[in-house]
Symmetry: C2
Subunit: 212 residues, 2 copies
DNA sequence: TTGATTACATACCGATTGGTATGTAAGGTT
DNA sequence: AACCTTACATACCAATCGGTATGTAATCAA
């Protein structure tokens, strides 16, 4: 019998395994959740072996943390790069941010779901590390609107309303809208959540729709 | 060797197994999520054997459907029994409902999470049956406020605002608030979500706080 | 050039998974 | 009393789970 010819068989280039695993995790976790996504699933989707997985991550939980942290960085970079920050008026920046969030809802449902929201829903009691990562991610979401809300409130104070608590409502609308969209199989309720949040802001800051 | 004496060993009374399994599922799924809760976990928590489980449920997925449907019925009965429905003014009924929702947040975190929201987050793409059950549950939540919102809007129309879309915001605030509470390990953001929703309604319907 | 380190692949493991096959005792029907 | 059905319990199963042990090829510092 001849010696087996070692077929490299479409190997993932050296150095890319970790990034591929996280990307695979993002896709699979968004569609099946964290617990239902197995390490073997991830390796198959990423095109690497289990050896690669446990070389880069000490455990499945560690991958979960890395996934959420990567998500935080990804979304942070995306929003930072967007021109909604360019507007002069702080409330206009906030409203433009809402436009951007609504535009994201044009994608297929799994692609506008939130990795942090999905994972923390399952793991908040069973994995302190993943919960903490999700908290960082959610808080980083506050920061996309918090400075603008602070400026808007400085120019137009509203009794009983803080910028922090208003910033939270953007995440509430986002996460709540996603759950309703998942349940109804339709992005419409997610869009409506942003619409109502915009109407609320316009009422708070005395900025009716027609007064652009 | 003597014949083994069959010890009945604290058996669950005949006829209770199904209800106990669903109660165990409610507790475990709220804490660990659906996928991470195994059939063995459920049987152990309910104090029954696997034979009992698969006698009552054709599969784990079937239990998931039964769990969510039971949840819908449970919460429906709870809100129907509550005296918030008694107020004369429709908006007062809606505001009293919000008071009730805030009161529920006094419980430990896992006990005010939503079974439908948790399960649909994980299963919306992998189990059509559970997703459909979750949709029924979410929609039944609309109904707790929808008739009152319709009356309130009939008496005080708001251009561009429908009762259906407003009713959805109660679920958005609920589900979004729960996710933030899980991530931060604190019920405060869930409470804030209801506070902002109340302020929004008061603005929409011209009903300031002091005018009780 | 050598030696160490990094980045994987291969092969394997015990435990757990959802599910099944079969037995049995209780309760209702005739 | 005989029989059937319901409601479980017991015992088992193949597949999959997260994780480990070990081997090897590429990279890099000296």
């Amino acid at each position: 019998m001849t010696a087996e010819t070692r077929v490299p068989l479409l190997r993932v280039p050296r150095g890319e395994a970790r990034a591929r695993l996280i990307e695979a995790a993002r896709n699979l976790v968004r569609r099946k959740g964290f617990a239902a996504t197995s390490v073997d699933d991830l390796c198959a989707a990423a095109g690497v072996t289990k050896g690669a997985f446990f070389h880069h991550f000490a455990s499945k939980e560690a991958l979960g943390v890395a996934l959420v942290d990567d998500w935080t960085e990804m979304t942070g970079a995306m929003f930072a790069a967007h021109p909604y920050n360019a507007k002069d008026d702080p409330l206009d920046r906030v409203l433009a941010y809402l436009d951007l969030r609504r535009a994201l809802l044009e994608q297929p449902l799994p692609d506008f779901t939130c990795v942090a929201g999905t994972t923390v829903q399952e793991t908040y009691e069973t994995s302190p590390a993943i919960r903490a990562a999700a908290e960082r991610s959610i808080r980083s979401g506050f920061d996309h609107v918090l400075p603008h809300l602070e400026q808007a409130l400085a120019a137009h104070p509203v009794p009983g309303v803080t910028a922090e608590s208003l910033a939270q409502q953007f995440q509430v609308a986002t996460q709540g809208g996603i759950i309703l969209a998942k349940a109804m199989g339709d992005p419409a309720p997610a869009r409506a959540a942003f619409d109502h949040l915009e109407r609320y802001l316009r009422l708070l800051f005395d900025r009716p729709e027609n007064a652009a």
